[in-house]
Each structure stands twice: as structure tokens, then as C-alpha cells.
Symmetry: C2
Subunit: 371 residues, 2 copies
């Protein structure tokens, strides 16, 4: 962590030290409102994914605007949000190992906690720990609905796991995790539609099989920012987990939008300063790999035509420029991160601004909480 | 930051929670010794780059083994090392803006601090601030020796800057920064040789021009882990700045080695656990983009033939496996990070182990110190 801060509330936007992660509060609040509006009247629960922001100040605002809780990806991440007052957290991951299970059960004594399973031994671990503590925890079966990562694929596996869960006295079987991660980044609306149709069909098949056994499926949960309107309109899902909509990154902006898609806008930027101006067509800024994630492509320069971010090294970013003095040495530019989630995870603080002034500095409390 | 620790001193290696950044102390110490030995008798000063490890415990060990100080990339990073007792830091970057200059000058009152310049206005800033405080700071001119990032290219620029620096009462002109970053990753020894020969030729041209003006060039500094023997044998450089040699990453391991190259070994790993085992040919581990940087390629599985890391998402890593139960759910594997510097920057602690036991936990004090 830096020994000093990039900015304090009340500072002028132009005085924020670089590199810094900055949030346009007006755009952020419009994104929150758009999601609320997009789900209004749909009976769809919103459980936004907090892995995108890792910031309790944002989670609490999402809940204030109607979210029923949040998702997290790791137990240690969930702990940060429970500490901050979030009462309902679904950890959208398999939790393996006695230590992690114990931490999850500690949280379950303080808040509503859900976990995913895709193997009998995960259920057995939680059965054992929950009985020992006489503490209830929610359990969801992850179904592989097309992304080929975690999750079971067959009806048999789903019904076996559900029976194992319902037989466990302190495990509450809640339903199915049916998240299609790859679909979020399919560029064409038709590709996303086809993927979520397939995911919905699989979810229905699994639900029917469970209902035939008398097992109630209370929740079918999934969806990301790229597909949220499709799950909303599916008639199958009843909870959505979008995370990136609060920020929007350069990768999501590459998705071609269909008529049904919800329009979000860029709210998160890396403010970076020009530290070297060696040639007329090259400026070097102070944001490289440790300031903006490049796994989903390089960051994109915001509202500066003719200026392109072309190369990232550890702490240098190379801009190609059309003019020798724009940006000049000491100027700053804003970058739209290629991928917001791992970019946020590089910072300890989010500098929130409005109307040219820093309004708040929010700690990114769950940064680095990977356990 | 996680609310709990991955391990404590005395824990068994197998009990380190995942994902965790772990250091094989025997391999690390062999790497330190190899660098000392490689430079022995060469009159070459070693000033290792601390951007690779961001860890004062490592910097102090490097200095104990003969390093004359360290390099940093950012002022805030340098501050962390000065606080920890490092007496000599070269910030291998241009420092722009009154706030950053003030911080650098604060450090210069407590330790020997060097900075790079490649523009008259950077010199002017430091001239002004150093006079105001009557505090001396070392200044190096960065020369673009072939990597096309920062640095001046012409003799005229070098001599102009050097005259400006020598005329400033509290600026001490030290010499030339001649780092060829791209050369570190050229795969063939001949390519690296050609690049460092060119860098050396440029450095000599600049030094001669300065000497003609009666300006002494005390230091010609540069080199990374991929080229260190070349700068050592150049007859031109008198200081090397290698950083990654303490750890070695998967990208450096792709360099074909020539007879003159110094052999370092992998000492840094991400320990990751299998959390899902959905198919016979797929295991999913708990280390994704937030646990291992992918900018220079995916991490490589250590000593486990037939097991390959094939895909990273935020907190998932997909392994392709030849056997259905190896690794099994709950097992761990070690990953060699694709690029050590940005991987280290994801973690708050480095778990150091030897002979199957955790020997120490070193804080990565300068993680996220990007200002």
C-alpha cells in the first residue's frame, strides 16, 4: 500500500495523484438506477456480484437500491462484507478444505450464507461442520450450463447431490447455480440469446427431475452484465448476479447490443499521468500492468481521439499520439480498464468524484481477499 | 486483504491455505548466491530491482549479500524501502508533478535517492525543489538504448540535460540509465547479445560526448535478469539492476540460454487447491487472474507432467489433466507465475518455506505502492 493517499474528499479532480482508480459517481448512480429499472416488475431478485468492486460502500448502496444481498467468490471476501453489515451472501464457488469450511460456517452463524457444490465430498464436509455447530447454511448445486468450468452436467448427479443435501439436517437446499460466464462476452446478441436459451433449458430439465422427487427448487440463479435481460425474460431464472454493470469495462463495451439489452455506461477509470514525452508520437504514462489489468485487452483511452494505449509494462503505459504536445508531460488521461474486476483488485481505494471534485474515498476492503 | 492468514511460521507446507504466494527459501538463497558469484571480480555494482519483490525482507538480504542498494519504480514504493532501512534507492523512472517531487525530496533527506530524467522540465522541477530544501538528490539521464519507451535518443539532448543538471546546485549528476527492457525477453542468446552490444555502443557515444564537455559520467546502469552477464562483460556498464533473478518466472524460463548466461531457478510459486473436479480431463483450482498475472502467458504447473493450466478467469484456473484423480479434489499444485512482478503485487504476504515447513511470512510492504 502507498504510504500516502492519491486524494482526499474535497480535492479537485485534477489534483488526484496518479495512477488512481476513480469512480464517476453520476455515471455509477445511473448504472444502479438502470439495473433497478430493468428488473422492475419482473419479480427477479438482484444479488449483484461483489467480486467486481470488493467495496462494502458499493454493496451497501446496491442493497439500499433493492438488491437482496450480494454474491462473493471467496470466503475471505464474504467475511469482509459480513463485517461491513451485509446480511445475505452467496459464495458462488466450491469451498474445499476444513479451514475454509470452518470460516464459511463462522459466517453462517452471523448472516445468511450460501455455497455451491458440484461433488458429494463438498456436501459431506458442510454436513459434518454444520452438524457439529448446529448452524444452518444454504447450499446450491452448480450446474454446468455451457461454460465448461465447474458444475455437474447430468440429471443423475444433480438428483444425487440434492438428495444428499436434503438428508443433511443443517444444510438447506436452495436451488441451482446456472451461471454462463462465457456467454457474457459473446459479441453478438444472437450468440448470447442462444447460450442463455440453452442454459435455461438445462435448468428446467434439472428442476423437473428434482420436483419429480419432491425436492423444491426455490432458486435458479445466474446471469452477468452481458446477459441479464435474457435471464430476466427466461421464465426460468428468479435471481440475477450481475456485477460489472456498476462500472462497465472496455471488454463489455465490445459486446454488440441487441434491442433487449440494458445499457450501462463507463463509470470506472484509471487516472494516469504523462511522465515522459520522448517523441512526437509517443507519450508514456504511469499506469502499466500494476495499475490496469490486461487479461481482456489493453485499457482504452477515454474521450481523447487520436490517443491510443498501445503497450503495458510493469509501471509504464505507452500511448501512441497524433500530436506532439497532447497530452503533454504532466497532463493526465483517463483509461477505461480492459477488465474491471482484476483492475479493482490492484487498488486499496476508490476515489469517487462528481462535478470536478472528490466526494468520497471508499476503501476496497476485500482487495486481495483470495482465501 | 484477507481477514485471516494463509499460514504462520511453523505450519507444515501442505497446510498453507490456498491460493498463496510461496517462496522456496533454498532456491531463493541459491539465486542470491549465484548472482553474487556471477558478479564476483567484475567490479560491477549490484543494485537489484525491488519492483519484482516489493518486500523489504528480500531487499535487506540482497544488501547483506553485497548489493549496494536497490532500484524502485515509484516514489511511494521507494518510501516503503527507506522506512525499512534501505539507505540507497534509485527510482528508475521519471518523477512528474509537485507532489511526487516533494515526496522524493523528503526521501532524499533520509537516504541516497536517485531519479531519472528525459526532459528539461523534470530537471527544472527537481532543481527548484532541491534548492528550496537545500537537499541533494542524484539525477541520471535515461537514454533510449533500443526499447522505445522512455529516454532521450540524441547526443544533443543528453548533453543539454547534463549541463542543466550540473548547473543546478543541489542536483548531483550521476550518469546514464541504459536499460534495455525488451532485450530481457528476446528468446535467443544472439538476439540479446546484439541488443546489449547496441545499448553499450549508444552508452559509450553518450559518455564520450559528456566527457568532451568535462562532465564526468560516474555510473552507467541498466541490465535485467535476461541479459545481466552481457552488461557485466560489456566494459561499459558498471552497475546492474536485475530483479527477477530472485524468483524466476515462466516467461524468463522460455529464454534459450547461452554459454555466458547465469542460471537461476524457480523459487516463487502460487500454491493453489483443486476446488472442483467436474470431468476426468478437467480440474478447477482456486487461482485465477487475481492470484497469478497472465500478461506474459498463463502460469505453468510445476513438476506435474500431464497437468496443464489452460484458462484463467477471475478466481478460477482450469487445469487439463490426463488422469481423473490426479490432482484430486482438495489436492494442491504449485504454479510458476507467468510474470513474477505483477503476480507479487497481488499479494500482501510471501510465505517462505524450507524442508516442508513454513519458516517465515514476509510482508509485501510495497504492494500497491504505485504513486
Amino acid at each position: 500500500m502507498s504510504p500516502w493517499k492519491a486524494a482526499h474528499p474535497g480535492d479537485a479532480f485534477e489534483d488526484i495523484d496518479t495512477p488512481a482508480l476513480v469512480l464517476d459517481l453520476d455515471a455509477f448512480e445511473r448504472n444502479l438506477a438502470r439495473m433497478t429499472q430493468a428488473l422492475a416488475g419482473s419479480k427477479m431478485r438482484l444479488r449483484p456480484h461483489a467480486k467486481s468492486h470488493k467495496c462494502p460502500d458499493i454493496a451497501l448502496r446496491q442493497i439500499q437500491q433493492g438488491a437482496i444481498g450480494i454474491c462473493c467468490q471467496k470466503v475471505s471476501e464474504a467475511a469482509r462484507f459480513v463485517e461491513a453489515g451485509v446480511k445475505d451472501v452467496l459464495i458462488t464457488n466450491q469451498i474445499v478444505g476444513a479451514r475454509k469450511v470452518a470460516h464459511a460456517m463462522d459466517l453462517a452463524a452471523r448472516a445468511t450464507i450460501g455455497v455451491l457444490v458440484d461433488h458429494p465430498s463438498q456436501v459431506a464436509q458442510f454436513d459434518h461442520a454444520s452438524q457439529e455447530r448446529k448452524t444452518t447454511i444454504d447450499v446450491y448445486i452448480e450446474v454446468d450450463v455451457g461454460m465448461g468450468r465447474c458444475g455437474v452436467s447430468s440429471v443423475q448427479e444433480v438428483t444425487d447431490l440434492a438428495q444428499q443435501i436434503t438428508a443433511a439436517p443443517y444444510l438447506r437446499f436452495m436451488g441451482l447455480q446456472c451461471y454462463h460466464g462465457s456467454a457474457q462476452h459473446y459479441r453478438e446478441p444472437e450468440q448470447r440469446q442462444a447460450a442463455i436459451r440453452q442454459a435455461s433449458d438445462i435448468a428446467v430439465t434439472m428442476r423437473h427431475a428434482l420436483e419429480k422427487l419432491g425436492i423444491k427448487v426455490e432458486r435458479i440463479t445466474g446471469a452477468g452484465t452481458g446477459s441479464v435481460a435474457l435471464e430476466r425474460d427466461s421464465g426460468v431464472f428468479n435471481e440475477v448476479q450481475s456485477g460489472s454493470y456498476v462500472f462497465m469495462d472496455a471488454d463489455y463495451a465490445k459486446n454488440h447490443q441487441g434491442p433487449q439489452d440494458v445499457q450501462f455506461e463507463h463509470a470506472l477509470f484509471v487516472k494516469t499521468g504523462v511522465m515522459s514525452r520522448p517523441t512526437a508520437d509517443r507519450a508514456v504514462v504511469d499506469a502499466g500492468l500494476k495499475a490496469s489489468s490486461v487479461d481482456s485487452g489493453l485499457p482504452v483511452v477515454w474521450k481523447k481521439p487520436g490517443v491510443h494505449y498501445t503497450k503495458a509494462s510493469d509501471e509504464h503505459g505507452v500511448l501512441q499520439t497524433e500530436q506532439a504536445n497532447d497530452p503533454a508531460l504532466g497532463d493526465f488521461v483517463l483509461l477505461i480498464p480492459g477488465h474491471c474486476d482484476p483492475t479493482v483488485n490492484l487498488y486499496d481505494e476508490l476515489i469517487c468524484y462528481r462535478a470536478g471534485k472528490v466526494e468520497a474515498v471508499w476503501p476496497i476492503t476485500a482487495r486481495g481477499a483470495a482465501l
